[in-house]
């Protein structure tokens, strides 16, 4: 990478090579390890999604059989959720920047941090092993009782997710402890950058909710191997209990994806509006609010599963409630932009795209949260479109915004901003072409997870497929530009955006020890006085 020999990327005084990375306990190097591995799995996930769309270009089997299609969408879900979007922002940017942003030289438990990455890689290897052995065909949710009976490698896929969960818990423990114990003098909780607040709230979800998924998945394995009857109705078990235990984790997991993304946006907006962020405390509290209330809404995935009407009403209420802290953030970002001296940098363009796409995702979520409408839209393309607007349009675009914002700091080099701006536009168009038609298709009744469709859905299916081509073009543009910039771009100044947070006050790339002397913090993270 760029600036070889400089900063944490250098090899002076220690052996180089791959072992200096995969056995490093430096939080910055571990952040880079996550970056490389997570983006590699992202490419796998995108390829699977691209093939799924391509299969639908004409009626009947086109490039794969129905059973293969089932396996492909299962693996696409597992890879994209558990290997990309859940760990992306916290593990990459959290690892790299959280300690620097609070004025610390590393996380509280550096070895545990490295162990988390190794668990992540082990989980990934197990998940991808199913690709060779025979991928599960259950969908990423592994719903019982089908997951208990299918002959595919469900136990292996489930165990892979279990191991990935372990990695996530260890990362969460590390971050919570780091924020509590390693803040620099003067860095009170109300001086924490909002990205740190977001990662902190996320870490609590990782600690509290992930073990429930772990237990649930072990029960699936126990049921498949030993034939116990917890979920199998034929043995007196309750398949709806599986759904409860699954979504108790997996809905908060949506917030594990999106809250750090919101933290990234909260960093970018004030920097590019050259204004103190509007409603700092409200945004910080709303992160905790989303984490808290978001843990109470899982039942909205189960409105038509056979769960009780009473539960449906309660979960519908909480679902509407979680919109409030989410909206607080959006209103505060817009409030920050109002009368700001806006600079249209690439990270800012991605942030704007995020706000637009996340708003569509959030509003379609409210539609799905309404009990009566959900009956009509459940398991249709509308749901697929909604969660892609949240997870890709929201968390994904926020992650891309973060990449463009922080890559000059991570590598010490700058990418081509013109190409980056164009790639943002192409991605935005491609994304909407791909997923907006799915909203209409869903309302018209197109069911999800089908490898074929009726003739009346053809036009919008084709539009969506063309959208996938445009989206992939944008991704290729973006990643080629970023990789080229990281290796061959011009040297980046230490603070190219004029940011006020601590990570921009040290060299690019950062030195091995983040701070020669732990700084004393005397002002807030969005106080731009004295900066250009």
């Amino acid at each position: 990478m760029a600036n070889e020999g400089a900063g944490y990327l250098g090899t002076e005084g220690r052996p180089g090579g791959i072992s200096s990375w995969i056995f490093s306990t430096d939080h910055k190097r571990i952040g880079i390890l996550y970056l490389v591995s997570i983006l590699s799995f992202f490419v796998v996930g995108v390829s699977l999604g691209f093939l799924m769309r391509l299969e639908l270009i004409s009626h009947g089997p086109t490039i794969m059989e129905a059973s293969t299609y089932n396996s492909v969408f299962t693996l696409h879900g597992v890879v994209m959720l558990f290997l990309f979007i859940i760990p992306a922002a916290p593990s990459i940017f959290g690892n790299f920047f959280l300690p620097i942003m609070i004025g610390a030289n590393d996380v509280s438990f550096p070895r545990l941090n490295l162990l988390s990455w190794w668990f992540y890689m082990a989980g990934a290897a197990l998940a991808l092993a199913t690709l060779a052995l025979g991928p599960a065909d259950t969908g990423w949710t592994f719903y019982a009782p089908y997951s208990l009976r299918t002959g595919t490698y469900v136990s292996l896929a489930v165990f892979a997710v279990f191991v990935l969960g372990l990695s996530s818990i260890l990362t969460g423990i590390n971050f919570v402890t780091t924020v509590h114990r390693l803040r620099a003098p003067g860095m009170g909780f109300w001086r924490l950058p909002l990205f740190v607040w977001a990662v902190y709230a996320t870490a609590w979800i990782q600690i509290v909710a992930t073990p429930i998924l772990g237990v649930n998945l072990l029960l699936v394995i126990a049921e498949r191997v030993f034939g116990i009857g917890v979920f199998d109705p034929a043995k007196g078990g309750d398949p709806i209990l599986y759904q409860h235990l699954f979504w108790i984790y997996s809905h908060p997991a949506v917030y594990i994806m999106i809250i750090p993304g919101m933290g990234i946006i909260s960093e970018i907006i004030p920097v590019f509006a050259r204004k103190v962020i509007f409603g700092y405390r409200a945004i910080a509290y709303s992160s905790l609010g989303i984490a808290g209330v978001g843990s109470l809404v899982w039942g909205h995935h189960m409105f038509v599963s056979g769960s009780s009407y009473t539960a449906g009403v309660i979960f519908s209420f909480f679902t509407f409630l979680v919109a409030i802290p989410s909206a607080i953030k959006v209103f505060n970002w817009v409030g920050t932009l109002y009368k700001g001296s806006i600079v249209l940098g690439t990270p800012f363009l991605f942030a704007l795209a995020f706000i637009f796409l996340f708003s569509i995702g959030g509003l379609t979520g409210l539609i799905l949260g309404a009990l009566s409408i959900n009956v009509h839209l459940h398991d249709t393309y509308f749901v697929v479109s909604h969660f892609h607007y949240i997870k890709f349009g929201g968390a994904g675009f926020a992650f891309f915004a973060g990449l463009h914002y922080w890559l000059p700091k991570m590598t010490g080099r700058m990418y081509n901003t013109k190409v980056a701006n164009w790639s943002c536009l192409v991605l935005f168009i491609g994304f909407n072409l791909l997923f907006f038609p799915m909203l209409i298709l869903g309302i018209e009744g197109m069911p999800r997870r089908y490898f074929d469709y009726l003739p009346q859905y053809s036009t919008l299916q084709i539009v969506s497929i063309v959208g996938s081509w445009v989206l992939v073009t944008g991704l290729i543009m973006m990643f080629v530009n970023l990789i080229r910039g990281a290796f061959r771009g011009p040297r980046a100044p230490f603070n190219p955006w004029g940011s006020a947070t601590l990570e921009w006050q040290i060299p690019s790339p950062p030195q091995r020890e983040n701070f020669e002397k732990i700084p004393e913090v005397t002002k807030g993270p969005y106080d731009f006085r004295g900066l250009r």
């Binding site: 600690i207 509290v208 108790i248 039942g299 009780s308």
Partner: protein, 96 residues
Amino acid sequence: MHEREEGRVRTGYATYVLVWLGLMGLTWLSVTVAGIEAGALNIAGPLIIASIKAIFVLAVFMHLKSEHGLTRWVIIIGLIVFIVSGALVFSDVAYR
């Protein structure tokens, strides 16, 4: 039974044995209660006993009684999530 060592409370072996015996006794009680037909209490009874056992394990074997600050908060938040999640699951099971 407790010794204070470098600011931390050290639990003696006698306490561990006593608590272990208590846990065994409560396990016996769980098995006994399971054989009694008591309607809705068939669920509540074992859950209460299990909760008492969990408190013993957390407080003594996991040394929570001698911890303070963040560690206690982690457990308290975990317990709150467990209780609320359980209540919401029962809002389905009880009214299905």
